[in-house]
Symmetry: C2
Subunit: 317 residues, 2 copies
């Protein structure tokens, strides 16, 4: 059942012994929202803790500095930034059917809670939280502001993706006034790379090939690269954006080798090239600018087949 943000606040005011759930493979938004809300509830004198199926990346640990870890039997369960109960990972079986409230910003949200508040116009769940925390009557301090700013900036690629609206920018300004250290958070989130990440960038760039006067760029992420660099999944985040960043490239293709030897393909395109249409030829799908598909074939064969369909889209011989 859909509720207003005022009703969310009323429920949380009445509740105690509250567990806050984040989604699996946690990102800055689900962790920032959880830690920000947990801090607010603890400031109200309530018992609250955060739970997540997976361990968080080291860069996110500061979000929980000073959050008191509490053990208790939960009486109220709220999820933040969880679009589907499947995304709770191993916590799905623990909490399925027991979640009171879901707060989310995904337009694709699939109902799984007794009550839900979904604002798909918000760029991040952390764009919703400042209003909620104010409705709770809690003063937003610098720790809460840092938590929420982190979610805002990571979900918008440092406010640069099309989902960032004037409201997102104004919320960011408000959080900075409440003490968020935007410059330091953005340095950690966007200007810091692991050794393995740098090593992966070097190797995928070494694998880059250009076709058709540089309008098509293809690169590979092999199991061997990952093994040799010791890269974690988080070190591979966004690598597939590299080919399309190159001037003149209309279609950027990344072939990620699977452990069974097949390839997962990520396609990124510039208008008017339709990535989803290209991937549909191979049983895949996605959006106009970003789509994916899979091949049970050698890299050479996968490249050849992709090139053929891409060239047809580019109307090249």
């Amino acid at each position: 059942m859909t509720v207003t943000l005022e009703e969310c606040a009323a429920m949380l005011k009445k509740a105690d012994y509250i567990v806050i759930l984040s989604h699996q493979y946690p990102d800055g938004d689900t962790l920032g929202a959880a830690s920000g809300l947990c801090r607010a509830l603890q400031k109200m004198g309530k018992h609250a803790r955060c739970e997540c199926s997976d361990e968080m990346g080291a860069r996110y640990r500061f979000l929980y500095t000073g959050v008191v870890p509490e053990q208790f039997e939960p009486q109220f369960i709220v999820s933040v930034d969880v679009a589907d109960s499947k995304l709770l990972g191993r916590l799905e079986t623990v909490y399925e059917g027991k979640i009171h409230l879901a707060i989310d910003h995904h337009g694709s949200h699939v109902s799984f809670s007794a009550f839900e508040y979904v604002d798909s116009a918000a760029a991040a769940t952390c764009e919703i939280l400042p209003k909620l925390i104010q409705l709770l009557g809690v003063e937003i301090d610098s720790a809460i502001a840092n938590s929420l700013y982190t979610g805002l900036t990571t979900d918008t690629g440092c406010l640069r993706y099309p989902n960032a609206t004037p409201a997102t920018y104004r919320t960011a300004a408000f959080l900075m006034e409440k003490g968020a250290d935007a410059a330091e958070i953005n340095r950690v989130m966007f200007d810091t790379k692991s050794r393995a990440r740098i090593e992966m960038e070097r190797r995928v760039m070494d694998s880059m090939e250009f076709f058709d006067d540089g309008r098509i760029a293809m690169m590979e992420i092999s199991c061997r690269m990952i093994e040799e660099t010791g890269a974690l999944e988080s070190d591979l985040d966004g690598l597939s954006a590299i080919p399309r960043q190159i001037e003149g490239v209309l279609v950027g293709v990344t072939f990620r080798q699977r452990l069974d030897g097949g390839y997962k393909v990520s396609l990124r395109t510039q208008p008017p090239i339709d990535a989803a249409a290209i991937c549909a030829h191979f049983g895949g799908g996605g959006h106009r600018g970003a789509a994916g598909c899979a091949f049970d074939a050698s890299l050479e064969e996968a490249k050849k087949q992709m090139l053929e369909v891409i060239r047809a889209q580019l109307r090249l011989p």
Copy 2:
């Protein structure tokens, strides 16, 4: 003589046949401010044109789409984002002593005009311009908004440097409401790299060496790399930031080979390491986090000497 923004607007309202000057090696802020102001003045029915000592990069050309190029004898000269008349380049001799008004945000502004308005709290000159254009009584349209947003975002590294304040974010939000296509501008400014740039990144990363458990990273930009990749000076922008971006690196050093064979060194450090103190040993200088010096020595010798001084700063044997 210092004037208020209201007085700037009054002067511009009275003026006609206006030339707007940008600084040499023009960036997004000086070009965005000039084109935004020029559009506003032309909308008022005034004669106005922009002048700059150097050609602008291809990525900035859209700022002038639809700006009518006008030839006339100037009656009023205004500079935007020019901190010192020296920075006018070859236009200095043309306009020195004739500039009526300077609008700028540099704290280091050196007076050179009859009247000046300098707001050093503004992250960019384009943070000042929306207020000025409103005082002129001109409705900010999407073309003006795109010009001004470009300056805001390029001068703040996509709103992520410490100079971006809540006011900067709010100005950005306002410009988006007036039609600025923030996502597209940020894609062009921050997510687009030339082939030569990608090639340079690959090569400098190949040259990277780590010392002292990864606390020191050193890399080289050789004349040969530049020649072989065809990189322009603009393709080298910010390369020296790469070593310090790596997790665990406290001191990042970039050795740029000079045509005469010597080396220009850029140092980037994390607190508490003082880059300026290290470079002072070699007759260089700069800030705590970023400094430079030069060596008339081989790369091996330069590295050896730098390592010695850096290790002393790191208090390592």
